[in-house]
Symmetry: C2
Subunit: 452 residues, 2 copies
């Protein structure tokens, strides 16, 4: 009899896992339960749908359920919420929402791809209909419809992670004024103070307010229950749209109830095969933690590419394979108006926590050759271990060519290069693409010089 794989959740990790499992074993029975109405979509594209760059939300759907069903023989069940796992009986309990029925299914292997949910504002009024916690496709569709129907004039965004910064560009494109309230003075969590200053300058240049070291205290509601202003300790900011960007909370509840352990990040702990502590239960995606290979420390990286790789590994192994997910190095980048922002490896704080003897250095160089009028500044911060001289991480900000240079630096961190080896690299040069010595190499050379 064919074995059965059950996958819980189908945004990115879940569909990646199911597809990979099918490629590995064409006879496996694969059932994918998704509580919501959509699977297989690019959540990272949501800000670009809000901005109008991606014209329709349907464009975000990578593959419709019927492709999974018909081409890959994956039994996709939408509106099916898994409510319990019995690891002894190897059985899941499922609420078939459409037919409002409880069903039971046994499994041979199970993959938790339950994702994460936005951390909710815990102040009164956070449930008002003009407060948006953006994460799922449904939340993005709702925000788009709200902007279209209600034509909000003034938004207040709370938090300054990459989604709030991407949405700042989107709100601007939709003609909505925007003030960002942030508990720190450094927007863009992944870059540290020297570089986050450039994000602040870009927000200012674009007319987006940024109020540092400020948390919302309470929402002021009108008689219809809509937020009309956000009060802080010092000021009150009028708003007819609230964007809450306080990070995410991994959906671990049905896993932990079944004995699956979470790690220090609050997400499921897994080994390099994406196995949890419970036999035959794997985990993947935004509900699952990842070891940063540079620091050895566990992280929750709720990023589409990481989810995809988690899913790939969990899917193959849950189908009987034997492949390793090597961990991540925290590479990410994003766009905020005319600025490209990226980071890879670890920052200076994490480097200290991991016990390195930390050296850091920031250089500013240009995106193109000397004579090119379109050349723009690029700022690069390197984080280096003084003892081994190894490149531990890098951060980069610039109006042009910064995002892809994150990956040049990521490859150096991935390879475990010293800063001396980085400085010795032979990178391509052409006037429209870089100065004669690339900013990445200038950063390396300058660090070598200062390290002696």
């Amino acid at each position: 009899m064919a074995k059965r794989l059950i996958v819980i959740g189908g945004v990115a990790a879940g569909t990646s896992a199911a597809s990979r499992a099918r490629r590995f074993d064409e006879n496996l029975e694969i059932i994918l339960f998704e509580a919501g109405p959509y699977i297989s979509y690019g959540a990272c594209d949501e800000p670009y749908f809000i901005a109008g760059v991606v014209p329709k939300w349907e464009n975000l759907l990578v593959r419709p359920p019927d492709v999974f069903r018909k081409k890959q023989n994956i039994d996709v069940r939408l509106h099916h919420e898994v409510t319990a796992i019995d690891p002894m009986k190897k059985e899941v309990t499922v609420h078939n929402i459409t037919e409002d029925r409880i069903e039971q299914y046994t499994y041979d292997t199970l993959i938790l791809a339950t994702g994460a949910r936005p951390r909710r504002l815990d102040i009164p009024g956070a449930d008002a209909p003009n407060v948006f916690h953006i994460k799922s496709l449904e939340s993005a569709i709702a925000l788009d419809e709200f902007i279209r129907a209600k034509k909000p004039q003034r938004a207040v965004s709370i938090g300054a992670g990459f989604i709030v910064l991407e949405l700042a560009e989107a709100l601007h494109a939709r003609g909505v004024a925007n003030v960002i309230l942030h508990r720190s003075d450094k927007p863009g969590k992944v870059v540290e103070a020297e570089l986050s200053a450039h994000i602040r300058a870009e927000l200012e240049k674009q007319g987006v307010g940024y109020v540092p070291n400020t948390a919302p205290k309470r929402f002021i509601l009108d008689d219809r229950g809509l937020v009309t202003a956000v009060a802080t300790d010092n000021e009150t900011y009028p708003a007819d749209l609230i964007i809450a960007g306080l990070g995410v909370v991994p959906n671990v509840e049905i896993g932990t109830a079944a004995g699956v352990l979470i790690g220090p990040s609050g997400a499921f702990a897994v080994d390099d095969h994406m196995r949890t502590n419970v036999p035959d239960i794997y985990a993947a995606g935004d509900c699952t933690e990842t070891i940063n290979r540079v620091s050895g420390l566990p992280h929750l990286y709720p990023l589409g590419d990481i989810a995809n790789k988690h899913g790939w590994t969990a899917g193959e192994n849950a189908a009987g394979g034997d492949i390793v997910y090597p961990g991540a190095i925290g590479s990410m980048h994003f766009k905020c108006f005319d600025l490209e922002v990226g980071a890879t490896g670890i920052g200076e704080d994490e480097a200290r926590r991991a016990g390195f003897d930390v050296f850091t250095n920031v250089v500013t160089h240009r995106s193109r050759a000397h004579a090119q009028p379109a050349s723009k500044p690029i700022h690069v911060k390197l984080v280096v271990d003084k003892k081994s001289r190894r490149l531990l991480g890098a951060q980069i900000v610039g109006a042009e060519g910064a995002a892809l240079r994150t990956n040049v630096l990521a490859m150096a961190v991935h390879a475990g290069l010293t800063v001396d080896q980085l400085a010795d690299a032979d990178l391509a040069y052409a006037p429209p693409f870089s100065p004669v010595i690339d900013p990445v190499l200038i950063a390396g050379r300058d660090a070598v010089k200062k390290l002696g």
Copy 2:
């Protein structure tokens, strides 16, 4: 008494060497002889000056001679042609062209930064005033003036290296029709057949003629001695402007006359300190060969960044320092209309010559995420050693993000990664900058799959 360094040639390597020597030893006497009227310019920018992107030729001058003289105490002598070197007396003979006088100078150390000249067409009429061999700043200024004054309608370009391809875009911008005659069917020397096809397609799209496997036989001249057409074995192409792009010939004559040996590339052979075989004589830049670190084979890489690095090393060592130039891996990229073209490491031919057991693979992927309407195709070719699975080289072509991805791959080649390690890299992802799994990783994964 202060020692004296003499530098012969001042385009890129020579000024880089002189500046570096000065930084290393503030008491050294440094004399730089340049036969032409200009030093310290970005020759790679010349096509962008012709195109009008760089508005004035003066913009190409990185630093004027007086900055070298006054700020760095470097004795820059323009219009001074070194005609002989006596390595026994450690003396150079110089023709002071302005004053038409022969002068003699002793040296303690000498750097040959004599550059390269364009290989000249050896068919009758190649000296006609409407035939341009582009290399020096003077040649670019002359071409610009010719286009402005004579308003040529039809160009024939001979050769299809990166300068001819960059100039094709420039001529198009200046409203000059252009037909490229090339001895092979593959434009863009650094990429191999699978990828050069995309360059041909781009030329066609832009209305530039490309005639493969064709050499000019003779020029047809009018009674003023101007070329009016180019005859080949099959056809005659009318033209009032000829661009000759047949590569370069290193200027080694005064060096070889003094006993400096050249290598298999025809350029000066040097050790990793940029020392020639003659005591106290160094060489750097377009007259000097470079070892490709992947193949171990010597190359002439007439590229601005390589010249700069050569000069840096030769300058420090000639001033008494002790630094190493580690060699190159052949990284380069260029723009041809809407196409970005890059290569790093070695191609499949060189890999075979170097004795590797060669595997190659080409993938086509996208520059941005699934839903982004601006996403464009990217083509990546990997060259891998079957035995060690090491990445030996990569080539990349695409309308967006290909040039900087050359450097992501260059870092992998530089680090000596296997294709398995390449595929395991954690690269940043955001919808405006890449698909969820970057084309570089897709190329690695596909190679791993095929290699088994």
